[in-house]
Amino acid sequence: MIEKLQFGMSDFVALLPEIILCVFALLITVYDFMSKRTNKALISYMSQVAFFVTLIATFTLIGNNYTAYSGMFVIDTFAIFIKVVILLVAMISVAASHRFITDEGYESGEYYILIMFSVLGMMIMASATDLISVFVGLELMAIPCYFLTGFFKKQNRSIEGALKYFLMGAFSSAVLAYGISFVYGVTGTTNLHKIAEFFATQGVDINNPALYLVLTLFVAGFGFKIAAVPFHMWCPDVYEGAPTPITAFMSTAVKAASFAAFLRVYATALPALHINWAPTLAVLAALTMTIGNIVALTQSSFKRMLAYSSIAHAGYILIGLVALKVSDGVASVLFYLIAYAFANMGPFIIIILLRTKNSSGEMLTDLHGLGKRAPLLAGIMLIFMFSLTGLPPTGGFPGKYYLFYAAVQSNYVWLTVVACINTAISAFYYFKVGMYMYMHEPRNTEELEKPSTPVLTALYICVGMTLLIGIMPHRFFEAAKQSIMLLTS
């Protein structure tokens, strides 16, 4: 039974942003080989242009809803929403990168090219409606990230981070692929819509052990990617070892893309199994946020503390997957992702700015007396900490509100209680940052370097968006709501 493959103009249009980004990345690769060693700043700007053009192409596709390439790829508002978030995050990380990698002595073009290919993989994941394209997109996202983590190849912790990330990433990919093979075995297809159709017409056979195997393998495979407890061990090491702009990129963009794929697989293909997997995910969510927050309390490295905090935030986002059946469940995930992305990029950019000759800027002690050394940076940092805690008037507050409300609506009151207690725990270490900045004397009195314009712009965009989402949450939530209309139908 061989289906005839047909390609038309609509297929080409659906993939247009990805094609543009891919062509740009290849051209920049060629340019990188031909250009002189000293001219790498230009490549950073070229990649910004590439992201910007891709962003515009993505915007022009708003309003289209169709599947392309025989159901492998879909263009809908959900995909566009995620792609816009990913592209913005990528632009901010590239802006924060150039000065940093130059100062560390690793200036080279492939850094930006790897980021571009990783973004390409994420965009494919956001649009994938076939388990094959989900898997290939996931690998295209992950493999450049292994390189980027180990990019500072003379620093031991960077290599070690890359090693751990690679081993865990390869292992989880194999686990996920094994799960996909059983989905194929049970349903005879890898297309998400056809899988849903199969379960709708044939019914769910509760006694089929293969289904439980699939659910376990999927939760484990995706759990590794989003760093949910107990699959989180790699995350703090990798986030600490990686170059700081890459940590910012991985903790937001990679997470957003993984959640997008996770959501689409569960919401589109396996809604019939919701009753079977919701309790598991609820326990996983509770464990993830509790362990993430409690371990974050004990850290002395700010970067590592943020890594544990990002694990805890993955726990909050998982609540939205538990509450999938509630009308606003998925929308609250999207809203939280965008609020979290900007609030989480910010502190990493500040870490980059705190770097001086004698200190990495990564330890909590480097924050001592920041209120005196750099009042503006300290104020901005406080806004990010407010948002990560979930206090108004920042984006974190409505984000948590929508998520917790969805959990209550789906009768997971205990999960909401756990989440609220966790918010209180997290307030302790986020406010500790504020205390260090304003109530301690500076330990390191070195003058901070004057930040470059791209980094400052990136920082202002992050803080501006964090406040904007907090002040006008309704508009962003409406956008998120509209973008999920077609996801489950």
């Binding site: 039974m1 094959i132 898997f135 690998e139 180990g150 031991n156 090693l163 690679f166 194999a174 075995g185």
Partner: protein, 101 residues
Amino acid sequence: MEITLTHYLILAAVMFGLGIIGFITRRNMVTVLMSVELMLNAVNINFIAFARHFQQLSGQVMSLFIITIAACEAAVGLAIIIVLFRSRRSINVDDANILKY
């Protein structure tokens, strides 16, 4: 005796299990990498057995993709092993221990 789908699935499950055991117990990076490859190849056997069972091509296509991805991962893994060996003169997983609490 006729070899059925079940036999292939059992073979794949055994290979996958051996891969996991190797991944967890072995300390040499190259062996760990080989264990991951073993797991991916178990997935390939699964796909091809199912494709044969359903008389479809899509399962075989998936296994082609997985072979490609496994090759990419092997390349990345070996590159990381080389960098690690240059800095530490060892490819023992336990020697990678500077990042911890």
